[in-house]
C-alpha cells in the first residue's frame, strides 16, 4: 500500500473504501468483458461479422489493458482483489456481455457490445466525478480509461446505424490513453 498516497486521498474527502469497492467492481467488469468479448469476437464470422471483428478485437485487448491498469491502483490504495475468481466475476460493475441466443446475428452481438461499453462509460464518468480535484492519480487513470471506453461505444454505435462515430480505426498500438499506466 502507498500509505501517504492513501492519506492524501482521505484528507481530500474521499471515502477510500467506497472508491476501492468501485475500482474492484470495474476491474471485475473489465476482466469479465475481456472474457466474454473473446467469445463474441470468435463468433463474428462471415461477410457481416468479419467487418466488425477487427474493431471488436481492439476493444477486447483494451478492456484487458484497463484491468491491468486498475489493479496497481487498487493495491496502492490499500485494497485487494477477491481470492475467489467466481466472487470477482459476480461483483462486476456491469452485467455479463453474453453471446446472444442466435450467435450468427451480428446486430445482436453489436447490441451486447455497445451496452457493455455504455455501462463502462457510466462507471468511469462516475469515478471521474468522484475523484476530480481530490485523487489525482485515480482521476487520471479513470479519465484515460473513459477516453477509450467512449471510443469503443462510438465504434459499435456506428455499426448499429446510430450515426458516424467521427473516429477511425486504431493505428499502431492499442490503448493510446491507458498505455502510460502499463509501462
Amino acid at each position: 500500500m502507498a500509505r501517504v498516497a492513501r492519506e492524501m486521498v482521505e484528507k481530500a474527502g474521499i471515502n477510500v473504501e467506497q472508491l476501492l469497492e468501485l475500482l474492484v467492481k470495474n476491474a471485475a467488469a473489465e476482466l469479465t468483458t475481456y472474457y466474454y468479448y473473446t467469445i463474441l469476437r470468435s463468433n463474428l464470422i462471415g461477410l457481416e461479422g468479419e467487418g466488425v471483428k477487427e474493431i471488436a478485437e481492439a476493444a477486447r485487448i483494451e478492456d484487458r489493458n484497463h484491468f491491468e491498469a486498475l489493479v496497481p491502483r487498487i493495491y496502492e490504495l490499500g485494497g485487494k482483489l477477491p481470492d475467489d475468481m467466481k466472487a470477482f466475476h459476480d461483483l462486476s460493475a456491469c452485467k455479463p456481455a453474453r453471446l446472444p441466443k442466435d450467435p450468427t446475428d451480428v446486430n445482436e452481438i453489436l447490441k451486447v457490445l455497445v451496452e457493455a461499453e455504455r455501462c463502462a462509460v457510466r462507471g468511469y464518468t462516475h469515478i471521474c466525478n468522484m475523484t476530480f480535484g481530490k485523487d489525482h492519480r485515480t482521476y487520471d487513470l479513470s479519465l484515460a480509461i473513459l477516453n477509450e471506453e467512449i471510443e469503443h461505444e462510438s465504434w459499435f454505435s456506428e455499426f448499429l446505424g446510430e450515426g458516424p462515430s467521427g473516429h477511425f480505426m486504431r493505428r499502431g498500438d492499442n490503448s493510446p490513453f491507458v498505455r502510460k499506466f502499463l509501462q
Binding site: E21, C94, R122
Partner: protein
C-alpha cells in the same frame, strides 16, 4: 397496487428479502438485477429507499430503472 411508506419500503432492502427501490412515486423490484446483488448498487446505493434524488446525480437516467417491474406506489405521507 400496494402503497408503501418509508418504513415498509425499508424492509425490502435485498438482504434476505426482495430488493425494492422507489423513484418518482413508483416502487420497482430490482431483485433480479446482477447490479443490485444483496441490495447494493455500485458500492454507493442501498435498496429499500427512495432514489429519486440519488438518480438525479447518477451517470444514467431512469431509463435503466424502467425495465424493472413496478410493484407499488411510494407515498411518504402515509404513516
Amino acid at each position: 397496487m400496494k402503497v408503501f411508506n418509508a418504513l415498509e419500503l425499508s424492509m425490502f432492502n435485498g438482504k434476505g428479502s426482495p430488493a425494492y427501490v422507489a423513484h418518482m412515486g413508483k416502487v420497482y423490484d430490482v431483485s433480479d438485477s446482477v447490479l443490485w446483488r444483496e441490495g447494493r448498487h455500485q458500492a454507493l446505493h442501498e435498496a429499500g429507499v427512495d432514489l429519486t434524488e440519488a438518480l438525479s446525480q447518477a451517470p444514467h437516467g431512469d431509463e435503466l430503472l424502467k425495465g424493472f417491474p413496478v410493484v407499488g406506489i411510494y407515498n411518504t405521507l402515509i404513516k
